[in-house]
């Protein structure tokens, strides 16, 4: 059997597509965590984004409204989290968990009327160029705008954190909110902004799932991707480029294990399904072993409430 080189390209492209929501949500959460806030509500914000995007698309018929609406929905639900943890100084972990439970519940409620409705086709770019280059053609061309954005995002995030003034302030707040506050930085404002940004990215990740990846609404359709995104942030040691690697490995193994199941490889299905989770974590642990670097990139105040006293 001769394997068509374009077929390999297609498999790689499908792996990349499955990595998109992970990259988006992880990069958003990374900014949140770099400011010292641990938001465990990613799964909840994602599924809110998924239903909002799908519902708005069905109701208004406009894809642009749907995409931005989904991001706005993520922002709104993360505002609840920000208000609770930053203004009312509640515990980050408990509040984040509540947010996820809330998100899953309310999305199921809103989504009832949207089950079984077919989605719309999402416009893709450079469709015609797909066959011009072997292998690379299907990888590079014929994807949605969100896809391209997702693969640029880790690099943008990295640049933002390292090279810009605001990125520096975000890192400073995550390192020591007390010092930042004494330097005249408005810690609460910075953290609010980072939480809302994380919400927007999770919302976008959800919308990608319900509008582009599998254009339909299924209850609980994020299927734990929010948790994987959270794990990616930690195991990548808050490094956006490693998030990209982790997301690709996870996406790749998910796709490959499907194919292996289909071919009938004699490995228990449960093991195959668990494989992406295990391997992703092992790989990220191995590439992030330098404890000095971990110390430098870990936000020291992660998950700790900051209360300015007078």
């Amino acid at each position: 059997m001769i394997i068509d080189i374009n077929f390999i390209g297609l498999i790689i492209a499908s792996i990349m597509a499955s990595a998109v929501p992970l990259i988006l949500a992880s990069c958003g959460e990374l900014i949140t965590e770099r400011s010292g806030v641990l938001n465990l509500g990613v799964e909840g914000m994602m599924i809110i984004g998924a239903i909002s995007g799908f519902a708005l698309m069905t109701v208004t018929g406009s894809l642009i409204i749907a995409i931005f609406g989904a991001m706005l929905a993520g922002v709104l639900i993360s505002t609840i989290f920000a208000f609770l943890t930053q203004t009312l100084i509640t515990n980050h972990v408990a509040t984040g968990l509540a947010l996820t439970i809330f998100g899953i519940g309310i999305s199921a409620m809103i989504g009832k009327n949207f089950v079984g409705i077919p989605g719309k086709e999402f416009p893709v770019f450079f469709e015609g160029l797909k066959d011009t280059i072997p292998l690379l053609g299907p990888i590079l061309f014929g994807h949605s705008i969100v896809f391209y954005f997702a693969f640029a995002l880790p690099f943008i995030t990295s640049y933002f954190l390292k090279k810009t003034k605001i990125g520096l302030i975000v890192r400073a707040v995550g390192d020591s909110p007390e010092s930042a506050s004494n330097q005249g930085i408005n810690v609460r404002l910075v953290r609010y902004a980072c939480i809302l940004y994380g919400g927007a990215m999770s919302g976008l990740a959800g919308a990608y799932l319900s509008m582009i990846y599998t254009p339909q609404w299924i209850e609980n359709m994020t299927g734990g991707r929010g948790w994987i995104a959270l794990a990616l942030v930690v195991f990548s040691t808050w490094n956006p480029i490693k998030i990209l690697i982790g997301a690709m490995i996870f996406g790749g193994l998910t796709i490959i294990q499907f194919h292996m199941q289909a071919i009938g490889v004699r490995i228990p299905v449960q093991f195959l399904t668990a494989l992406p989770y295990i391997v992703t974590i092992i790989v990220l642990v191995v590439i992030s072993r330098d404890s000095r670097k971990i110390r430098l990139s870990t936000p020291s105040s992660l998950g700790k409430s900051f209360h300015k006293d007078n």
């Binding site: 520096l168 020591s176 005249g184 000095r292 110390r295 020291s300």
Partner: protein, 496 residues
């Protein structure tokens, strides 16, 4: 240009205490001012008001006749008031350069030039590209100072700047401060160390319990007069009698090594020493040179090889702290609220925590509360802890009282050896005196002390023998009479 800073009738009240009670002061540039007072006298509150961190309940601040509204640290900076806090306001994981530029709106390159000029002018040498956590305390302080200088301040406030510095670093700092003063920056120097005031300052304001007690020129004062003003009573000076030379060895550490997995801890290399009965061995060093690891190894928080520690003719290197206590060792760790006591627990509960077997505090697994309370009351009265409420949570005790309680708890079992780590860190003169007296008394009862401390004066006062720890290695052990603080300073800096 002449700078005039005026504090007028400033009052700040916290629930249960008046931190600043109607304080008025005036400063003029060209002089170095000392703000002197014990812990809790209100000097930190006052400078936090000047730097905009705390907003006063009443009172006004004038800089060159302009009434300043200091509602945030940013306001203070905009009004040319620079402040170096006792606890550094640095971002450990960011690079030195990033730390320096974070509060400035100027362009990176022009800032880099400015920083280079400042560093050259004052002879500071710090690598701008390494993360701050790799710097020594003295270097960190320089980073803080540069950060203030970038904004060319009119006023520079230093809050207890020498508490983390070596002798050499301290004299370097003093030189820089004098230079700044000559260049017209008004310097306000906050401290409770009398010697430094005499060395550095031109004028001194003394605070006690939130009130301004006196303002005077240094040339009219001496150490005793300032100490009495600060404490409000006449202090007796304590001195240690020369110990009887005993050759009865109590503890011996032989070839002790400790390699840490944490890259931010210090490894201990080939530690050897012994302490005789009735002796105090002082271990000097700049903090972060292995003191904390050495304390943990000695106390059993870190287990070592069985034969590496011989105590009273038993090998105890592999025992945990509780088991070591059974052999009559006692410990007073550095961090009073984190390691020595549990902040949220009541005084008597904390007293019970280190006395399991050798006491009758517990019957068949039940707590004998009456017995513990009785015992706690005895400690409180014997060791002069200034409270009569043993139900009080430990976190509400002042540092001095908590330290007395901890030392009392350890000593009431009459141990043969007390190991203490910075026992008077952050305490006021009265409490320090009391702790020192207590430690001298222990030696007089023919019991031994290992005193790990970063305070050289304290070590010279209390020790019979002194060694210096540098990068996890101990220097040779010297007789205390042969040692001067200059000599210790050189050894602490790593020279031979």
């Amino acid at each position: 240009m002449n700078t005039n800073l005026k504090i007028s009738n400033v009052t700040k009240i916290y629930p249960g205490c008046i931190a600043n009670d109607n304080v008025s002061l005036e400063f003029n540039s060209g002089k170095i001012y000392a703000l002197l007072g014990e812990n809790g006298a209100g000097k930190s509150t006052l400078v936090k008001i000047l730097s905009g961190v705390i907003i006063p309940d009443e009172g006004k601040i004038y800089l060159n006749e302009n009434n300043l509204k200091l509602n945030s640290p940013l306001d203070a900076k905009k009004n040319d008031i620079g402040m170096v806090f006792q606890h550094f306001n640095l971002f450990e994981t960011l690079s030195v350069f990033e730390n320096l530029i974070i509060d400035s709106d100027e362009h990176r390159e022009s800032l880099r030039e400015k920083i280079d000029t400042i560093m050259k002018k004052y002879n500071f040498s710090i690598d701008l590209n390494i993360p701050v956590l790799n710097l020594s305390a003295g270097q960190k302080q320089k980073v803080e100072i540069i950060r203030c200088l970038i904004r060319s301040p009119k006023v520079l406030i230093m809050d207890e700047p020498t508490s983390v510095l070596t002798e050499q670093e301290t004299s370097e700092l003093f030189l820089s401060l004098k230079k700044f003063s000559e260049e017209g920056i008004l310097i306000i120097y906050i401290t409770h160390k009398l010697k430094e005031v005499m060395q550095l300052c031109d004028e001194v304001a003394v605070m006690r319990r939130g009130k301004l007690v006196s303002v005077s020129e240094i040339k009219n004062e001496n150490i005793e007069s300032l100490a009495n003003k600060m404490v409000g009573q006449n202090l007796k000076t304590i001195k240690k009698k020369k110990a009887k030379t005993s050759s009865d060895q109590l503890i011996k550490i032989a070839n002790l090594n400790f390699t840490s997995e944490d890259p931010f801890e210090t490894n201990l290399i080939d530690i050897n020493f012994s302490v005789n009965r009735g002796e105090c061995l002082g271990i000097a060093g700049i903090s972060g040179n292995g003191q904390s690891e050495l304390f943990q190894v000695l106390s059993g928080e870190i287990i070592s090889e069985k034969n590496s520690i011989e105590f009273n003719n038993n090998y105890i290197g592999d025992l945990n702290p509780q088991e070591r206590r059974e052999y009559l060792m006692a410990f007073s760790p550095e961090d009073r609220l984190e390691q020595a006591a549990i902040p949220q627990m009541k005084i008597f509960e904390n007293v019970a925590l280190n006395n399991f077997k050798s006491s009758n505090f517990f019957n068949n697994g039940l707590i004998n509360e009456n017995k513990i309370k009785e015992h706690s009351k005895k400690i409180i009265s014997d060791f002069n802890v200034n409270t009569d409420n043993i139900e009080l949570k430990s976190q509400f005790l002042s540092g001095g009282n908590l330290q007395k309680l901890i030392i009392g708890r350890e000593l009431i079992t009459s141990p043969d050896l007390l190991i203490c780590f910075n026992p008077t860190w952050g305490l006021d003169v009265g409490a320090i005196n009391y702790i020192h007296e207590t430690l001298i008394k222990i030696n007089e009862q023919n019991k031994s002390i290992i005193l790990i401390s970063t305070d050289t004066d304290e070590l010279l006062k209390l020790s019979d023998k002194i060694s210096v720890i540098h990068k996890g290695k101990l220097s040779k052990i010297m007789n205390a009479e042969e040692v001067t603080s200059e000599k210790l300073g050189i050894l602490m800096g790593g020279a031979n």
